[in-house]
Symmetry: C2
Subunit: 331 residues, 2 copies
DNA sequence: CTGAAAGCGCTTACAG
DNA sequence: CTGAAAGCGCTTACAG
């Protein structure tokens, strides 16, 4: 029932090929013909089928995005930037939630490949590098966010300076006189946890402070888990007077824990988060945290991916966004 | 380069049609043949092209979602429910951000139609009912969320009891002794604003309280706008001692305004929000608000849409979710 | 139980 | 400047 190219051709009394030419604005078409065809298109309300076109061109004008948890404001901000950029470039985007679990992540990759997306932006939860490379070779280009991979054709990387961010956080805590600093690390399956933990360890050691494994607790980075982990950390190791959290959600949980333990923030326990989500400024006390431009991160991921699509041979270096410390009241 | 049905057929020494049969698990196939084909599929890592299939079946196994602002936690929670439900039903989903503006919304509808999505879930910002009906007739079924339309084949509705929620909020404020109640309404282009404002007006009148148009301010429902609107409301009309907000974001803005005006919440000014997003419980003071299950709302929207797709003739009544008042400290 | 033909709605060489 | 043929990778009747 939808109107096809054939209908337009018939109405304009030309061949299908000619319609195709004016639709795609390619090849020479006599002005008079072009106008007749345009008129027919207008009149019939013709819109070319992306499906049919894709079948022959192997381009669908779609991108896939796989996030860990769309409910986490970090990812929704990122998605917003990604969507705006995609739209600006003429792509529509499939969204998939992996829950930061491997199986759903693989399922999402497969599913996106089945739909022939042109490219994928992925927050890998955990994924064998070889597997991902195999996927890229067999299917479509992937831009990986927040995880450093070995460079590989068809794989792009968009990173933030997580290590530097962790250093900023610890430096700040040390400057406030803290010597016993713990960390609420993200769940181990989040690859970028590694960078933040690294930065944390390095900086603590660089300051000549004690570094205890028991002071680093790994949990799923949501508020309630942060609360429980902080409760445990501060109860079992009361000497800890400062906490660096993998992200703001965990930091908020830590603030709740302090309230329950009647530890004043920042006097009895200082807390620094990471991401600077909207919530960070709204909580009491307002959170000192490491800021990263999440919208920009999403935008850059698309920019890189589109570049890869436009020139598959190009060797594009990883993109890395700077971070900065935002000092509020929690530390 | 990707492996096709033809490759499988060749390897299994059968016709393409037979491969199609085992892939789609339809028609009788001799066991021995089926196994040979399955083995070939396995061996070659064959995956059927959804594109090619869609071209003939007119089914893409995709759904579209158009939200106003993915950055608003209401929508991200909704999306989460929608994604989980879609996946459970075998659909992948396109996400579009309309920014609650008409043009991007229409562009998104068109774009989704171009990709032949099977159905669409839409938060209409403002859209002529006739236009939407025309779209549905020409293209694909749409489930509209949070806006009451006249019933129409191909259009489903998922609602929440917004009016009832507004009543709960006002009743609560009245029970606390408030007699001068203002409202921070959402920007007028949000259709569901209507229900909440209606419920507000009705209930205020039902209690025999004054209802002043100047006490109802319409703004874009984000925190900063809420802050400014509340500042204006409480400065120009200091007699107002209670505020009902269209959503939690506006309510949070109102709390900030009160802080700036040195009005204690709830003693000098009581505030009630709507949605019960995560932030509501975390702000100081914790927000009294109207709870609605956003995840469930997303899930229900998909359920309804899939029903419509499975049986285009069925007349499915609107789905309406209950709401409840969550009393915390802001009122 | 299995296959050959036609077609979904386009684009890509190739002619003229 | 314009068109006829082949084909993208599948499924849908229809035969046998």
């Amino acid at each position: 029932m939808p109107v096809t190219m054939r209908d337009v051709a018939q109405k304009a009394d030309v061949s299908i090929k000619t319609v195709s030419r004016v639709v795609n604005d390619q090849g020479e078409v006599a002005n008079e013909t072009r106008e007749r065809v345009s008129a027919a298109i207008e009149e019939l309300g013709y819109r070319p089928s992306k499906l049919a076109r894709a079948l022959v061109t192997q381009r669908t004008d779609t991108l896939g995005l796989i996030v860990s948890d769309i409910t986490n404001p970090f990812f929704s901000e990122f998605s917003c930037g990604m969507l705006d950029a995609s739209q600006a470039q003429g792509y529509d985007v499939f969204l998939c939630n992996s829950g930061a679990r491997v199986k759903p992540e693989i399922r999402a990759l497969r599913s996106l490949a089945d739909h022939n997306v042109d490219g994928i932006i992925l927050f890998p939860s955990w994924l064998n590098e070889d597997k991902l490379r195999a996927f890229v070779e067999r299917h479509r280009p992937v831009v990986v966010v927040n995880r450093a991979f070995e460079e590989h054709p068809g794989m792009g990387q968009v990173l933030m300076d997580a290590r530097g961010g962790a250093k900023l956080a610890v430096d700040h805590l040390v400057s406030k006189g803290h010597t016993a600093i713990g960390m609420l690390a993200g769940y181990a399956t989040y690859p970028d946890v590694f960078q933040r933990v690294c930065g944390f360890r390095e900086t603590v050691v660089a300051h000549g402070l004690p570094l205890k494994d028991e002071w680093i607790i790994a949990v799923t980075p949501v508020i309630e888990q942060g609360r429980q982990a902080a409760l445990q950390l501060l109860t079992q190791h009361p000497q800890v007077t400062a906490v660096f959290a993998y992200n703001d959600l965990l930091a908020v949980g830590a603030i709740q824990a302090c309230r329950e333990l009647e530890r004043r923030v920042p006097d009895d326990c200082a807390i620094v988060g990471f991401d600077n989500v909207q919530l960070a400024a709204l909580i009491t006390p307002p959170l000192t945290t490491v800021h990263v431009d999440k919208y920009e991160l999403g935008w850059q991921a698309v920019t890189l991916l589109v570049r890869m699509l436009d020139d598959p041979e190009a060797e594009l270096p990883p993109v890395c966004l700077d971070v900065e410390l935002v000092i509020r009241e929690s530390a």
